[in-house]
Symmetry: C2
Subunit: 390 residues, 2 copies
Amino acid sequence: SSVHENGSTRNHHSEGAIINLDHGDPTIYESYWKKLGEMSRVTFLGHQSLSYFSNKKNFCWFLEPKLEEEIKNIHNMVGNAIVEDRHIVVGTGSSQLIQAALYALSDHSLNEPNTISVVSASPYYSAYQEIADLLRSGLFKWAGDARSFDKDGPYIEMVTSPNNPDGIIRQGLVNRPNGVLIHDLAYYWPQYTAITSPADHDIMLFTLSKSTGHAGSRIGWALVRDKDVAKKMVKFMEINSIGVSKEAQIRAATILEIICGSCSQSVKPNIDLDNFFEYNKNLMAERWKRLRDVVKKNDIFYVTKYPIQYCNFTGDFTEAYPAFAWMKCKLEGVDCEKLFKEHKILTRSGRRFGCDPEYVRISMLSGDDDFDLFIQRLSTIIGSQSLNDN
Amino acid sequence: SSVHENGSTRNHHSEGAIINLDHGDPTIYESYWKKLGEMSRVTFLGHQSLSYFSNKKNFCWFLEPKLEEEIKNIHNMVGNAIVEDRHIVVGTGSSQLIQAALYALSDHSLNEPNTISVVSASPYYSAYQEIADLLRSGLFKWAGDARSFDKDGPYIEMVTSPNNPDGIIRQGLVNRPNGVLIHDLAYYWPQYTAITSPADHDIMLFTLSKSTGHAGSRIGWALVRDKDVAKKMVKFMEINSIGVSKEAQIRAATILEIICGSCSQSVKPNIDLDNFFEYNKNLMAERWKRLRDVVKKNDIFYVTKYPIQYCNFTGDFTEAYPAFAWMKCKLEGVDCEKLFKEHKILTRSGRRFGCDPEYVRISMLSGDDDFDLFIQRLSTIIGSQSLNDN
């Protein structure tokens, strides 16, 4: 499905406007950043960042030193990942880093076809299959649901935790010899879930889009234990795009620095700077409450429930407030994406995640107007005509 | 060869420093942009460009409207490419667009293996082979020198004009049925060569790196005649990196706008704003004169000669001043890359371009200090000891 079709018209909320909750476009973060105003300014002069190189002494020669520093700072402060003795590779979003990791982990010997299987447990992030199969690579190939994977030999398992689409905390599932895991931790941040311990895996992927809301910057990063794997990822990045935009990296570094500052009470006590994670967690919690209230009332959907856990970052027990709602229609045989579409709400069908069409994934990260309209329309689905039509 | 190794130390020119002229790192442009100072400032506030989307109404939904406009303006002003009725696709540098074009032009039917051959006439840009073979795609495959290509069936020919490495103006060479051409016009700008007519091909690639000097931004663009091909390129971009950094695009738009302004005498007549192309063409002409003077004196290298042509943009007859010097050692059997390395000059061997090791490609776009040191060291190669060693 194409990203650009049927886009919602954000500034034009007539009754008939379609709202697009198919993508996780993180415009919910606009309110936090608007409050900051001038504090968040980043500027570039014409002669800056001309060179391909950011740091000739680093194996990842296109990584801006300031971004490297701020990535380490934020993980150390949040406590969501180990950064000591890890190699940092920056990418044009984490999408590009997924490919870089698949490239780095596959067998490049020329003797025989050694295509490595790529699996993930359903429901899995719909992009994994698209990415793995995009160029019909002879190095790696999508092999579907990890739950039914029974081939011998090496494999790569994508482990998304909290999971996209359903917000569940996950671990590797296949657990066979010759397996390597890529941990996609895009949503392992305090606004979405409890930070229970610093993640400590071989390859961990993060993205600015879902941590700070800057999807337009296309900045992702990988924390990689093995130097040779990291070097191969850099090699992929060299050939795929000769590195990553310096402007985006430098802005990302500033954004991460501001967030770190907002979380340390000693910094700038005279400025009204809300703690980034608390502020946005509150927004998420409020949205989830509104969603659960409506879902309870209209009584025809299941929404995933999450356990209460202790968060080391906030020092409190908390529910999870995932970036997506993973909803299932209680009535069998209903095509849930179609049902929502009839109510002018674009969602992503469970089919795209290796599941049944009774499921849909709905973004919880839209702008306020779209979210209000979503809740309003959802509330009208109680015993509605459209349901009987299915 | 890896981009990050043996980087030159730009701010530390001891006698022993290695100078890296392997890459075409365009830091020559620094002097122009430094003169501009504040005029070239671009700023971002924290809440800007959060969304994945730039323009939901455009098929290329991640293309910033302002960049689209400035791309059209600069081509119309320079007269180097037709933009009317073309579809513009933006990429993370033109490297990513080469892959997008290969993807778009290949056969996606699942029935049989239909791997399309990718060729280019030697000497060809060394990255084409690396890009085509990176993931061992089942869609396309590098098939080597276009001069010896004799397979039946569809093929893609990369036509680089002016050519990288040798600066020669080129056309398609294979001229068989079922061929499609990708024109890489990275160097078809007035500082390098005469603009003899607006290029008018099916797929034309350009890059900010070699037009304005902003290699760090990673911005390239394609002008595409066929809408379906352009749509497939966008599809590739969606999956490969979910679009292109907005910061880089917005800065690129400003940079192109400034260049356009600098070329129109009516704009800002009170500001000392040099015509971008004249200013940098003068720098290139001066460097080429210095290079040819030394090469003439030491009499052991050939350097490509270029015809005098009329440039529609400048309204003058001019030589070409390519971004790279393509040099050949007059003595047979000399490994020219090795020879230069002995003199602490990193170049790229002719082998990488499908040629003999007597050839090297040398960047003419380095910073001033590196270029001075290059000329100084080159002048010492006359009948030197190192030559006898080969």
